[in-house]
């Protein structure tokens, strides 16, 4: 997934759309918005980012999970099998992005890239709802996909690459 920080207005529509799509209880979230401001008046810059699980290639959350509930699904998406999760929260402590939370029902929950939608050929809820169309989701192996094309065209970065987790969310800057 790629997110265009030049278009994001930080409205949090992605957050509420994820909550209603995925039954995330009020008070919790799988995605959130970060605003970073730099400079002094009137030389200022703001970066707005919709953030979520980075679906890292080298995920500390998967490595530290004692039951195997946190796992890479085929293709590298990081998921939690709810029935196998004992809610020990080791994964939460290990995640440099703070992308997970303990669901009130006792298991750890996080972004799934809305695979139930993707499976039906739909975009994840956050991507589909965004009024600024600042999010691009698709197959990075396919050079014709929107996300591949935009990453080829635009400067981008990942967050906290120094943590060595090989994050897979790209921010267009």
């Amino acid at each position: 997934m790629a997110i265009d920080t030049k278009k994001c207005v930080g409205c949090s529509d992605c957050v509420v759309a994820c909550q209603t799509e995925n039954n995330v209880p009020i008070g919790y979230c799988r995605d959130w918005v970060v605003e970073v401001m730099d400079g002094t008046y009137p030389q200022l810059e703001i970066e707005l980012r919709s953030e979520r699980c980075n679906h890292c290639e080298n995920s500390p959350c998967v490595r530290c999970c004692p039951t195997g509930a946190s796992h890479y699904a085929d293709g590298g998406i990081v998921l939690v099998t709810k029935n196998e999760c004992i809610g020990c929260s080791a994964c939460i402590a290990s995640c440099p992005y703070d992308a997970r939370y303990v669901h009130p029902d006792g298991y750890v929950d996080k972004c799934t890239f809305c695979l139930h939608r993707v499976k039906k050929g739909m975009q994840p809820a956050c991507v589909a709802v965004c009024p600024t169309k600042c999010m691009y989701f698709g197959d990075l192996n396919d050079p014709r996909s929107d996300v591949s094309k935009i990453l080829k065209k635009r400067k981008h970065k990942t967050l906290i690459p120094e943590a060595g987790t090989k994050p897979q969310l790209y921010f267009l800057i």
Partner: protein, 745 residues
């Protein structure tokens, strides 16, 4: 803003990698679906019904999804809707919270007295409506039917309007006019013979240069405009933002002009000076379509960027460069007229300057400027004529504000306070879906007016502050539980949208149509409601345009063809504008006739005294005014407002981030509640900023009671626009207090 962490250091660039291969997704998804069937329930088992959103005035059309138990799960935009293009904003997506909010009004209430203390008692619908009808009849007998009024901001207004008009009054007002966009409409009508209306006919999608003056698109979530601004960014449009605050839009702009508040007219005149003196204006357009260019040229001769610099603090080279940038993009340039424009009392003149600047650039009627909107014409069932009232609220204005093309909510309020010299006599109000306590400035005056009334009936979904002053409170069901009139909004192409109930009304709440018709029955006005149910009325109307209720229930939105292909002016086309001269009036003959400046003039406004800061307010994308502050989903995104303070000011007052303080304004009004400090470079040192709509004082709003400060409470100095009666609200200054004890005088 929902943010799990406040701050993440911006890290360095890293190379793109591959997430996963094609084809793997399918096997992955199916394995998940197998292991966690119930958890991954998608929209596929859901049923959907059409609606259009009532969380704000944009009225986006969408689908309400219900699960197999009939519970509303989510609301998604309708792909065919030109207002939203299938994408709802956070408020529309969070509209589910309007249905589930447990603090909703549940049953009719009547004010009563128990042991010397006023309280509400629950009443039946029949009793509550009988109470209102009998009070209205009393007012009619003693004072005449003209002495009733309707305030409305919402879809139900149409039906209560029929009752009031049938009863014999034309006092129907919405705070969206005199407290918001009124000056803009009057200014554009004076210039072009036509207002911009809603949704605005701004061609942001195709603009090459977007100029925002105090308009904070992206924080105001006017959906279509936010989407089009994003499209314009994609296409490389230049954005110029004029704002004392570094707004979200300013952060997307090539040029941010951090103007000293209340000096916008000086900047606009100076831009005109550059464009005329450097001969950058659209000569053909100006010659063919406009009236009064020579007077304008003479008027702006001395308004050099150097002159404006001393007033606005914007550097002369920046004024020149931005003027040239606009002219370079012309006619695909849009000096946006904004929406909430009641700032300093000379707002019609400021918006006139905006309109004139657009005319010089030739952007009205041109691609990338302003398009010519179209609207579906849906016939209404023929009703008997409404009785002609002998007087209206206007008679209480002493001949002022005749250029106001709609009723002033503040004027109707004024006309309810008796004065010796003016005919002020409104005695009964029906208020539908607008919390006047937080929408009209000068709360004391609003409450004074209410105390003079014989009847205040409030129809709302939530126990807003206004309901606390009511004699009768009627619980309307929320928009997800009712039909309403068709949405017929203007746009590039005409469209109609249907709202139908997704679920039955919760509690003992009822839809506006039913409430209004039952009241009409008691007032012997049933002739204005010939259809027993709203479904019959909608079906009749839809059949006149070749559709039907049945069809609309399936599609939600129907797009119609434009009758004439005139989205933009054709090259050299002869156009007759609806003004006195038939031209675009750079020099306004109608303003001259009424004794106002025919060309805008800059006049200085009062500045804050030492230790005080100008109060600027605005919007947050996840809330609509004070309407959504208690919505469980939206409160989760933002639960209170904060006061933005420049670090220099914070240092002087020793204010820290997240510290709670009280505010006191120039008239000694201290905020009811404390507000969190946000120390930020994004605001000038002479101003503070807060989001409007918080600081609710009604305890029945459990989630938002006492959260933040109500800017409306701090707005006691109201600068009235002499042209149309708009209420300028940005001439208020606040200082910081560490407790809320009143200052001893």
């Amino acid at each position: 803003m929902k943010s799990r962490r406040q701050f993440i250091k911006i890290s360095s660039l890293s190379a793109a990698g591959l997430i996963f291969g094609g084809g793997l997704l399918d096997s992955l998804a199916s394995s998940i679906l197998k292991e966690n069937q119930s958890y991954f329930k998608g929209p596929f088992d859901f049923t959907r019904t059409p609606t259009y959103c009532e969380v704000c005035f944009w009225k986006c059309a969408g689908w309400v999804y219900k699960d197999e138990n009939g519970r509303i799960k989510k609301i998604i935009g309708n792909d065919d809707d030109p207002n939203c293009n299938g994408r709802f904003c956070p408020r529309g997506t969070g509209g589910v919270g309007m249905h589930y909010d447990e603090d909703r009004l549940k049953t009719p209430l009547i004010r009563t007295e128990e042991r010397g203390k006023q309280t509400f008692r629950e009443a039946s619908w029949d009793e509550a409506l009988e109470y209102i009808a009998s009070k209205m009849k009393e007012i009619k007998e003693e004072h005449g039917p003209e002495c009733t009024a309707l305030f409305s901001h919402g879809s139900g207004g149409k039906y209560f309007g029929k009752v009031i008009k049938g009863f014999g009054s034309r006092n129907i007002a919405a705070p969206s006019y005199a407290q918001c966009r009124g000056p803009r409409e009057v200014a554009f009508i004076a210039t072009y013979g036509s207002g911009v209306n809603s949704p605005e006919n701004t061609d942001i999608r195709d603009t090459k240069c977007l100029v925002l003056i105090g308009a904070h698109i992206g924080e105001n979530m006017h959906n279509g405009q936010v989407q089009e601004m994003s499209d314009a960014i994609d296409k490389g449009a230049t954005i110029i933002t004029v704002d004392p605050r570094f707004s979200t839009a300013a952060s997307k702009s090539k040029f941010w002009l951090p103007i000293k508040p209340a000096t916008d007219i000086a900047l606009l005149l100076s831009w005109m000076h550059v464009i005329i003196s450097e001969e950058l204006y659209d000569k053909k357009y100006v010659e063919k379509y406009t009236y009064g260019f020579d007077q304008l040229k003479a008027h702006v001769k001395n308004f050099t960027p150097e002159w404006a610099y001393g007033i606005t603090t914007i550097k002369p080279d920046q004024i020149r460069e931005t003027a040239r940038t606009m002219a370079h993009a012309a006619p695909a340039v849009l000096v946006h007229p904004g929406r909430h424009v009641t700032w300093y009392g000379d707002d019609t003149q400021r918006l006139r300057a905006v309109a004139i600047l657009n005319a010089l650039l030739g952007s009205w009627g041109r691609r990338g400027g302003f398009y010519n909107p179209d609207k579906a014409s849906v016939p209404h069932y023929h009703l008997p004529p409404y009785p002609k009232p002998e007087k209206t609220w206007r008679d209480a204005m002493g001949g002022k504000y005749i250029l106001a093309d709609l009723a002033l909510a503040s004027g109707v309020c004024d006309a309810s306070i008796p004065t010796p010299d003016l005919d002020c006599s409104i005695r009964g109000w029906i208020v539908n879906g607008t919390n006047l306590i937080n929408t009209l400035p000068d709360q004391k005056k609003t409450i004074d007016a209410i105390q003079k009334l014989d009847l205040l009936a409030v129809v709302d979904t939530m126990p807003m502050e206004i309901t606390g002053y009511a004699d009768v409170v009627l619980p309307e069901c929320v928009y997800l539980e009712r039909y309403d009139s068709l949405r017929i909004s203007q746009g590039r192409e005409p469209s109609i949208a249907l709202r139908m109930p997704a679920v039955d009304p919760l509690y003992n709440s009822k839809p506006a149509y039913w409430i209004a018709r039952e009241l009409a029955k008691k007032l012997d006005l049933l002739e204005y409601f010939p259809f027993e149910t709203i479904e019959e009325e909608l079906d009749w109307e839809l059949k006149q345009v070749g559709s039907s209720l049945e069809e609309m229930q399936k599609i939600g939105v129907k797009r119609l063809e434009r009758e004439v292909d005139d989205l933009y002016f054709a090259d050299g086309e002869d156009i007759e504008f609806d003004t006195n001269t038939g031209k675009i009036e750079l020099y306004s003959t109608v303003l001259e006739e009424e004794g106002f400046d025919p060309i805008p003039v800059y006049t200085p406004h009062p500045e804050p005294s030492e230790g005080f800061y100008r109060l600027i307010y605005g919007r947050a994308p996840m809330h609509t005014f004070s309407r959504t502050a208690n919505n469980p989903n939206l409160t989760d995104l933002m639960s209170e407002n904060s006061v933005w303070v420049n670090p220099k000011v914070a240092k002087e007052w020793d204010l820290k981030n997240d510290q709670y303080i009280y505010l006191e304004n120039q008239d000694g009004v201290v905020s009811d509640f404390p507000i969190k400090v946000r120390v930020t470079e994004r605001i000038r040192w002479d101003s503070v900023y807060m989001v409007h709509g918080f600081g609710h004082a009604d305890k029945r709003l459990k989630r938002c009671f006492g959260k933040g400060v109500s800017d409306t409470q701090m707005i006691t100095n109201v600068m009235i626009d002499p042209i149309m009666g708009g209420t300028g609200m940005r001439g208020n200054f606040v200082t910081f207090r560490f407790d809320n004890k009143k200052t001893e005088v």
